[in-house]
């Protein structure tokens, strides 16, 4: 496994390099996974191979507290995750603007990086995700705590086993144990938060991929209305698990997105000194 120390945390990452000879100038796609069960595998085993075959260098990594990355007891503010993403780019000597693909909380991290370091971001593909606004913080705080408490409930576990099988019961128990051993529930919604004025300054192009009855089903057009360069794709009959359940459709959308934006990103990005 490829490991590096990021802000003091031993971090698992994986490259899948572009097929063919790109002379080191292949577009770079950085995938950021979500919370809980998630790990770099949700991208590595779905999108990474087709994107690399199409000519992109694809980087995935496990967030702190997830996958094969270490699980510190504290340090789970959104700001910590944003700092980690920037440090991953710095340590891998990635200075060209990258295309971020963020799933759920991973998208929130991506928006955070774009707000703080716009020169590092060529575009964002946001899968069932939103920036860290006051509204997000409220929802995140309530939802994460409710989900965490439910995960430990025997009746919930019984339902998971009957509905999804024993594999998901094991995943739930593992996630519950990992979450309970850290301060992630208390910290993750603490920001930094972005206000409407800041969102209006995010100049990178954004593709928002949403499930028709996912986490933004109450207002599927809200994110697009909040950002100056955002387009929305809604997948019908789909809940929050867009990436895992519809990864081949997501692949099509991202490939089209990269074909549309990659030359734009390379032409308009500031050259490194």
């Amino acid at each position: 496994m490829a490991m590096m120390t990021v802000n003091g945390v031993s971090t698992h990452y994986q490259w899948m390099r572009a097929a063919g000879d790109s002379d080191g100038e292949a577009p770079i796609v950085v995938c950021v996974h979500g919370l809980g069960y998630d790990s770099l595998a949700s991208f590595y085993l779905t999108l990474a191979s087709p994107l690399s075959a199409a000519g992109a260098d694809v980087l995935t990594y496990d967030l702190r507290g997830h996958g094969r990355t270490a699980r510190p007891p504290t340090g789970y503010r959104l700001g910590n995750f944003i700092d980690d993403l920037k440090a991953v780019l710095d340590q891998l000597d990635i200075h060209r603007p990258v295309h971020l693909v963020g799933n759920s909380f991973g998208g929130t991290i991506a928006f955070g990086l774009a707000a703080q370091f716009p020169e590092r971001v060529a575009s964002i593909v946001s899968i069932e995700a939103e920036p860290a606004t006051e509204s997000w913080a409220g929802k995140m705080g309530r939802t994460f705590r409710n989900v965490y408490e439910a995960m430990a409930d025997d009746r919930y576990l019984e339902w998971v086993g009957q509905t999804f099988g024993s594999h998901y019961v094991r995943l739930t128990n593992a996630a519950t144990a990992a979450i309970g051993a850290s301060t992630i529930v208390e910290e993750v919604a603490l920001g930094p938060l972005l206000d409407a004025d800041t969102l209006a300054t995010l100049q990178c192009p954004v593709l928002s991929i949403l499930g028709s009855h996912g986490f933004q089903s109450d207002d599927l057009g809200l994110l697009q209305a909040s950002l100056p360069r955002c387009r929305t794709e809604v997948l019908p009959d789909q809940g929050h698990s867009v990436l895992v359940e519809r990864h081949q459709r997501v692949r099509q959308l991202i490939l089209a997105w990269l074909a549309e934006h990659e030359s734009l990103g390379q032409l308009e990005s500031p050259r490194p000194a």
Partner: protein, 106 residues
């Protein structure tokens, strides 16, 4: 999700043994401590998680070369198919690339 089996039956056994060794390395157990059959489901029977598939893919590529591309294979499956993936599917992935037969004669 089935793949055509090669004609070299002995290649299957050798490849199965090698896949088992890789699985035991990932699970950090001794080969004798785990009962593995071609029909063993990676998740339910062996307790493997999706993150483990990343390591398995890397080990298969190290052993057999980049032609054995587990990530590319899984990218064409649904999540339901990945959850019921069996040891035999990994063996067939290796054999369908032709590398095991090549190594058997070199």
């Amino acid at each position: 999700m089935t793949m055509s089996l090669p004609t070299e039956a002995s290649g299957y056994d050798e490849t199965f043994d090698e896949v088992c060794r890789i699985l035991c390395r990932v699970l950090e157990v001794e080969l004798d401590d785990l009962e593995i059959e071609p029909e063993s489901v990676l998740t339910d029977d062996l307790g493997l998680e999706s993150i483990d598939l990343v390591a398995i893919g890397a080990m298969l590529a190290d052993r057999y070369g980049p032609q054995v591309n587990l990530a590319a294979y899984l990218a064409e499956l649904s999540i339901d198919d990945v959850i019921v993936l069996r040891v035999g599917n990994l063996v067939e992935l290796v054999l369908s690339s032709g590398v095991a037969a090549e190594r058997a004669v070199t």
